[in-house]
Assembly symmetry: C2
Homo-oligomer: 285 residues x 2
């Protein structure tokens, strides 16, 4: 009987992790696992307790006829720490600077191992905002935006640089980019259903904030509302950006004596993690 319960718990935890942010009905779980609902409820209480204690995630329980659970994984703080350290180190390598003064990071941005934890970090920052979708603009911010959207259980609204034939008719906007000092354009297909939605804008890099501001303007044309902006790296100057509120994981001081540093809110999160580790955990010997 014990061995049965061990196996059941293993299966159930695995199943929850494989179905994050989804409403899972007790009836379905009971059928899939071949387990009585009452047994399942007991198991879920223990899983909830253990997961929350170990800060791996939370389980929300809905009661009533549609009784079920939603599993919400939390970002793993060890992974986050390793990832932040990786970005700081990798981007400090001298050959990351192109002759034109840009920071080459396309290769890193497209490696899910390093980008996904940062996307999830930004997502958690906006979990309280009832976000309906994540907006981003082609191309380098896409992996970050996908990871954030996945962690929030929503989709990505892709703003394109040029409108494409395959997108049908689109609304376009020109704006002055602070980073490149050039006129850029941004467009959104009329087929994209965003009316009334609350979106966050996610991108890899922000200097003056012209792109985020343009995204906000374009979404407003579609009767959608931007409720937050999150980027991997923001330059320290200009201090005043073209969008009011934004969060950056890392800050970049472009002066020769400067460099990359971790933003205050991320540092706080990591420090909380170390404190928790020192507290220790003992699950039996």
């Amino acid at each position: 009987m014990n061995s049965q319960r061990y196996k059941r718990l293993i299966w159930l935890v695995g199943y929850l992790w494989g179905h994050p942010l989804q409403q899972l009905s007790l009836t379905d779980l009971s059928r899939k696992g071949g387990v009585a609902k009452s047994t399942l409820s007991d198991d879920l209480v223990m899983i909830k307790e253990t997961m929350e204690e170990a800060r791996l995630g939370t389980i929300d329980t809905q009661v009533g006829v549609q009784g079920g659970v939603v599993w919400r994984p939390r970002i793993d703080l060890d992974t986050l720490k390793e990832s932040v350290e990786f970005w700081l180190k990798a981007l400090s390598e001298p050959d990351r600077r192109t002759p034109e003064g840009f920071l080459y990071m396309t290769d890193l941005l497209f490696d899910p191992k390093w980008t996904a934890p940062m996307g999830r970090l930004l997502a958690e920052r906006f979990r309280g905002e009832a976000v309906d979708a994540v907006a981003t603009v082609e191309t380098k911010g896409i992996p970050l935006a996908m990871a954030a959207a996945d962690h929030l259980g929503v989709g990505v609204v892709l703003l394109r640089r040029d409108s494409r034939l395959s997108d049908g008719s689109a609304l376009s906007l020109n704006y002055l980019s602070g980073s490149s000092h050039r006129i850029q354009s941004m467009s959104l297909s009329r087929r994209m259903r965003v009316r009334g939605m609350h979106l966050i804008f996610v991108d890899d890099f922000m200097k003056a904030g012209g792109t985020a501001r343009a995204a906000e303007d374009l979404l407003t044309e579609f009767d959608a509302r931007l409720v937050g902006v999150g980027v991997l790296i923001a330059t320290e100057k200009p201090r005043q950006k073209l969008v009011d509120d934004y969060v950056a994981c890392l800050q970049w001081n472009e002066s020769p004596s400067g460099g990359l540093s971790v933003s205050a809110w991320v540092r706080e999160k990591l420090e909380a993690s170390s404190a928790h580790d020192r507290g220790g955990r003992s699950l039996g010997h």
Copy 2:
């Protein structure tokens, strides 16, 4: 003592799921969980057995001084089935066809809920090939490629439509696209380290295969080798594509009486799933 073991198993399964495709040393796991290594080994045997029986994934064990485990989640067949049904239904809606005869699917491709299962499906098809990275070209194939890369534990090599200032010097290639009957261009930054790598090319759509073929040619210039091509949708005509081997999740018959259908290898996978379900599972009542 039993309750301790329940909690330990819950934590351990959660931890494994949160760290897929990573070499986890027993020493680290033992420290993080506050569990003796011998206890951990016993737990891992039971988890491995249960996970493999429920087809949720596999655990590879390495013995010796660097003794550790690697958790490899398998694609969940229920999720896959739901996802395949979704794509068939969504893309059959008449308003998905643009006046120019394209299939509008940007919104769907950027929703991780629907794209990730298909990316993982393609990834599993190439698991035996020792893939070092997944290549894709801007823009619509990116979410699919990221999901495939994530499932293989590798990164994405982004082929760009135009070379960008922020990418430094790049090698470019022009080719004739079979879908649009236009000359397209593709470029790869010289900074991208791909020499000697084995890559698969992943994209959302293939007609004649000109883009996949161009990707192969461009990667060859970098002394990298394309070992496979996977797309979400391939048109049935032309039957002869410009790349020898490719796999598609769905096939599109563009004639008015045609439509989308599921590829044979995907159908087989789904049928195996139904057979397994009929076998039932009982984890205790």
